[in-house]
Amino acid sequence: MTRAARDGARPLWLRSLGYWAFRYKRTWRSSMTETFVEPVLYLAAMGIGLGTLVDHHVHQVQGVSYLAFVGPGLLASAAMQVGVSESTYPVMGALKWLKTYEAMLATPLRVVDVLRGHLAWIVLRLATVSCAFLGTLAAFGLTRSWEAAVALPAGVLTGVAFAAPIAAFSATQEKDAAFSVIYRFGVVPLFLFSGVFFPITRLPGWLQPLAQVTPLYHGVALCRSLVLGDASLADSIGHAAYLVALAAAGYAAASATYRRRLVV
């Protein structure tokens, strides 16, 4: 199939992205709270409240204040949360409840455009959230060098590493029951044990390798080293490569599951 339709030249995936952006106009107010207020609340509670306590007893975590330590970790975990929430219920809704995908497929759009458009929208959401979070970190005086700016794409990458495979999974589901399982046994444990709140070296020895293979661990490590300005090139490439591989595998899987679900 050729990309150009007779009616226009705008790339097809961009038209599907357009739908999500259009729809966002209805919900942006509530998501703004989520995007901008939550980081501040988390940083205040964890960094300042809990941080005072921690700093009082152990003085520093990995050579920085607890606030500086936990801030970038929260950035990565916020990206995970957005990535997961945007690739579960919205995908199910577009498939079954609202039949948005079905409506799109009656137009020039193809399955691959439907998928790319939706993922592109998730990337945009992740970019706004990461940007807001980084801005907050900067306002708290927690960014140390220009490298902190690279934490923006790092946050996006962390979120996509979750969103792409989960979208692939969501496209195989008939009900939303599995999503609460993803949260309970995926998101929450990762949030708590992937190095956001304490270095994973504090975990029991046998748990550490397990923590190291979770995507959030790599997201946290990448974002933290970039924000704190002590990133080594080799480590950063390693973390990013892991996340890119996960996102790419997720995209490939989603191409297959979307096709199987939507082309009948």
């Binding site: 199939m1 339709a5 007779r6 599907s16 259009f22 020039p108 193809r110 082309v263």
Partner: protein, 360 residues
């Protein structure tokens, strides 16, 4: 209202001539002066002409659709001409929706050949869909958006410029009698309103071919008649319509030509009138008896008719002069609880062809 629609469709006419008229037209049809993208369309249309000069908008030959081991569509052939309303009449499960989805280039063909607007759906799905308007069996409106936004957002999939989309949406909301609801959310609308909105949405791209899958199923009679009126108006304006239905009344009122489908095959095809003439008599006498015993006793009446159908609750006698049979029944002393003479319909044709009723 009518002038609004006419002017709306008027603006689409040249586009339809340039690209759609290309199908039967001569290879060097006169160039219609238009915008740059139109010129590109002309070139694309010229290429289509060179490859496949199709006389009909849709041509199917031995079309098959399988789902695993189940064959939903089992080798159907038909042609749909420009400007006609073509119907697929049949009960649930006859393969109508599967056929529609293949024509709409949303479902791959399992066997046979299909050409839509002269193109192969497997190769040019995107190009074809750009010129189709689909009204799916199940509404796929965005319930959380407003009526107007549903139209505008849909037009954007076809890359209709935003300003044009808003203008068209206003015209089409008038056509669909939904102007007062333009800024309401879709969710609380009635079933009939949602169907009309879905039809308006399918018209946003000024399609060459409208595909309507069971457009009035689930609507109350009043909403159904209102919808038929809108579809009839589209037909008057020269829009090519493909309609599936299991209501024979709908098929009779709207369709110029139709096929009757059953178990994935085409049982018969023709105009509604031809089908009635070919398969049944002009009139039908419907007799209802108080008991099965009375009905059985009346069976010899069948000698008078060309054909008899005995249904659980009534007896149908096919004859060219129904009154004569009714009079004879009374003369012989068989007294039905009720007896009426009516014109034969497609329902009778279906009964004749399959031995079953259309709507169970």
């Amino acid at each position: 209202m009518a002038p609004t629609l006419r002017s709306f469709l008027g603006t689409r006419a040249p586009a339809a001539e340039v690209t759609g008229g290309a199908a039967p037209g001569a290879p060097d049809a006169p160039h219609v002066a238009a915008a740059d993208d139109r010129a590109a369309d002309d070139r694309a249309a010229a290429e289509e002409r060179a490859v496949a000069p199709a006389p009909a908008l849709v041509v199917a030959r031995g079309l098959v659709k399988r789902f695993g081991r189940f064959t939903a569509v089992d080798g159907v052939s038909f042609e749909i001409a420009r400007g006609e309303c073509f119907g697929f009449l049949g009960p649930n499960g006859a393969g109508k929706t599967s056929t529609m989805r293949m024509i709409a280039c949303m479902s791959p063909v399992s066997g046979g050949t299909l050409r839509v607007l002269g193109m192969d759906p497997a190769i040019d799905g995107t190009k074809i869909r750009a010129r189709l308007g689909l009204v799916p069996q199940e509404d796929s409106l965005d319930l959380e958006l407003t009526v107007l936004d549903n139209l505008v957002v849909y037009a954007r999939y076809f890359d209709v410029p935003r300003a044009d989309a808003r203008r068209r949406a206003a015209d089409l909301l008038e056509f669909a009698q939904l102007s007062e609801r333009a800024h309401d959310r879709v969710e609380p609308l009635s079933g009939g309103m949602k169907r009309r909105l879905t039809i308006a949405r399918a018209l946003m791209s000024q399609p060459d071919l409208m595909i309507l899958d069971e457009p009035t199923t689930g609507l109350d009679p009043q909403a159904r008649h209102l919808l038929w009126d809108r579809l009839y108006r589209l037909k008057q304006d020269g829009v090519t319509l493909v309609v599936t239905t299991h209501y024979m009344e709908e098929a009779e009122q709207l369709c110029d030509r139709l096929v009757i489908m059953d178990h994935g095959r085409i049982a018969a095809h023709g105009t509604p009138r031809e089908l009635v003439e070919r398969y049944v008599t002009r009139e039908v006498v419907e007799l209802r008896f108080a008991t099965a015993h009375d009905q059985a006793a009346a069976l010899p009446l069948g000698e008078l008719a060309r054909r008899v159908e005995v249904l659980p609750d009534r007896m149908l006698l096919y004859a060219d002069d129904g009154e004569q049979i009714l009079a004879e029944a009374e003369r012989r002393g068989w007294s039905p609880v009720s007896g009426l003479v009516r014109r034969a319909t497609l329902e009778d044709v279906f009964l004749r062809l399959t031995g079953r009723s259309l709507v169970d």
